[in-house]
Each structure stands twice: as structure tokens, then as C-alpha cells.
């Protein structure tokens, strides 16, 4: 970063997905940046060769952060959908724009799942108790 001075207007960053940590084989879907390209964490659906289990791998610089098996993924998603309304107030506008498509689909899923914002929770959240879009 320090070797070259960046121009005032930076071109769009093109980042190649990193290689997976050893011991994991990527399945059909793409490798997805978990937050943003400069955050460094990526997620992919993989096969863990030692256990022959499918699941989701979160990794960074070819190092595993966590492998969540398919069964664990189901329970994690169950919890994430249930907590969805609690997490929403903490996202940024930039995040909303970057991930608009995925958030739209997730919103539909949350609706179908039946998770509803808790009145108690909303009253404790910042800014009028979680005034999400």
C-alpha cells in the first residue's frame, strides 16, 4: 500500500477470490466475500475432505476461521432468521446498497419463516428502537 501513491479517484477494486484452505473442496456456488472485499473474510459451500461433510466455510487468507457443517448450518440459519430483526438496525447504508439483492431475498425468507420484530427489543434499539427500512 505504501509503495505506490494512490490517485485521488481510485478505480473499482477487482479482487480475485482467494484459494480455499487445504482440506476443503469448493462445491458449485461462487466464493462470496462475507462483508466487503477489503474485509478479508470469504465464505463458500465446501466439502470437508477429512469428514466428507458438506457445509459452509468462512476463511481468510487461506486460513479456516470456521467450518459449519450442513446440519449446523441449518440450526445457525434458524437462529439467524430468528435474530434478523435484532441485527437489522446495526447495518450501514453502504452495506444495504452493496448487498441489496441478497437482503431482498433474505427479507422474503424471514417473512416466510415467521420471525417478527419483538416490541420489547425494538424499544431498546438505537434510533427510535430499530427503525429499519
Amino acid at each position: 500500500m505504501s509503495e505506490q501513491q494512490q490517485p485521488s479517484v481510485q478505480p473499482a477494486i477487482q479482487v480475485e477470490p482467494p484459494r480455499l484452505p487445504s482440506g476443503y473442496i469448493q462445491m458449485a456456488e461462487e466464493v462470496i466475500p462475507l462483508l466487503s472485499h477489503d474485509d478479508g473474510r470469504w465464505i463458500a459451500r465446501v466439502l470437508e475432505t477429512s469428514s466428507l461433510q458438506q457445509g459452509m466455510l468462512i476463511f481468510e487468507d487461506q486460513h479456516k476461521i470456521v467450518f459449519v457443517s450442513a446440519e449446523e448450518s441449518a440450526t445457525v440459519l434458524d437462529a439467524l432468521l430468528a435474530h434478523h430483526w435484532h441485527l437489522l438496525p446495526y447495518r450501514s447504508n453502504e452495506y444495504n446498497q452493496t448487498h441489496a439483492d441478497r437482503l431482498g431475498r433474505l427479507g422474503l425468507a424471514v417473512h416466510a419463516y415467521g420471525a417478527a420484530p419483538s416490541a420489547l427489543w425494538r424499544s431498546t434499539l438505537p434510533g427510535e428502537g430499530g427503525s429499519e427500512a
Binding site: 450442513a70 441449518a74 440450526t75 440459519l77 446495526y90 441478497r102 431475498r105 425468507a109
Partner: protein
């Protein structure tokens, strides 16, 4: 210790985290809870077991993980063992329904964008 709706006793918070909700059991002695990370102040999803943090995702990462899991859900469900599917039947059914709903509404909104498909053909008119 906190007790969940199902009567299970949740382990106490691991060092460095404050619970913001009642923990929910995952599987094999792991739990998840909405939590605040003391060091950063971030609110997010903590997965932990007895007194040990296993991983923590801030709110944005947690939301995105949920969205990605929804996309991958059909493949993930296919690889889930039958014993697990039986034990967690209610949750699996909810997830399956959530995925189907999101897919159906995506297709419907896409169809609405595209407009009617060749109505003249539907009415039996010549091309």
C-alpha cells in the same frame, strides 16, 4: 446460567461478551446468542460453548451469512442426515418453507418485470 423456553440451561457468557438475549441451543453443546463484543462494541451473533467463544460475526456479517445460507439451503438440506432431519423436523420444515417462499417471490417479481409473455400466442393469434 439462563434457562431457555425449552428448559435447557445455557452456559454463562464467555469472557469478552455481554448477552443481549436468551441463548438458543444449536447442536452438540453449542449455543448461539445475540451479544455485544466488549472489545469492539459490535453487536452480532455469538456461537459459543461452555465459557468459550467459538466464533462471532458482527451484525452485517451475520445478516449476510443468513442470506447466503438461504441461497445454499437446497443443497445443504440435501446433505443433511435423516436422523438429524427427523430430530429437527420442525426447524427444517420452516427453513425449507422460507427458501421456497423467497424463490417463488423472486420469480414472481421477475415475471412482473418482464411483463406478459406473448399474449397473442395465448389468445391463439398468428405470429
Amino acid at each position: 446460567m439462563r434457562t431457555t423456553d425449552t428448559g435447557a440451561i445455557a452456559p454463562p457468557p464467555p469472557y469478552g461478551y455481554a448477552f443481549l438475549d436468551t441463548p438458543r441451543p444449536l447442536i452438540e453443546q453449542t449455543w448461539t446468542v445475540l451479544a455485544r463484543q466488549d472489545a469492539t462494541g459490535y453487536v452480532g451473533i455469538l456461537v459459543y460453548n461452555f465459557r468459550q467463544s467459538l466464533w462471532f460475526l458482527d451484525a452485517e456479517e451475520g445478516i449476510l451469512l443468513g442470506a447466503i445460507l438461504i441461497e445454499c439451503m437446497p443443497n445443504l438440506l440435501r446433505s443433511i442426515g435423516s436422523v438429524f432431519a427427523l430430530e429437527y423436523g420442525d426447524e427444517i420444515e420452516l427453513l425449507r418453507r422460507a427458501w421456497v417462499q423467497s424463490e417463488t417471490e423472486q420469480m414472481e417479481s421477475l415475471a412482473a418485470l418482464l411483463g406478459p409473455v406473448k399474449p397473442s400466442l395465448q389468445e391463439g393469434e398468428a405470429l
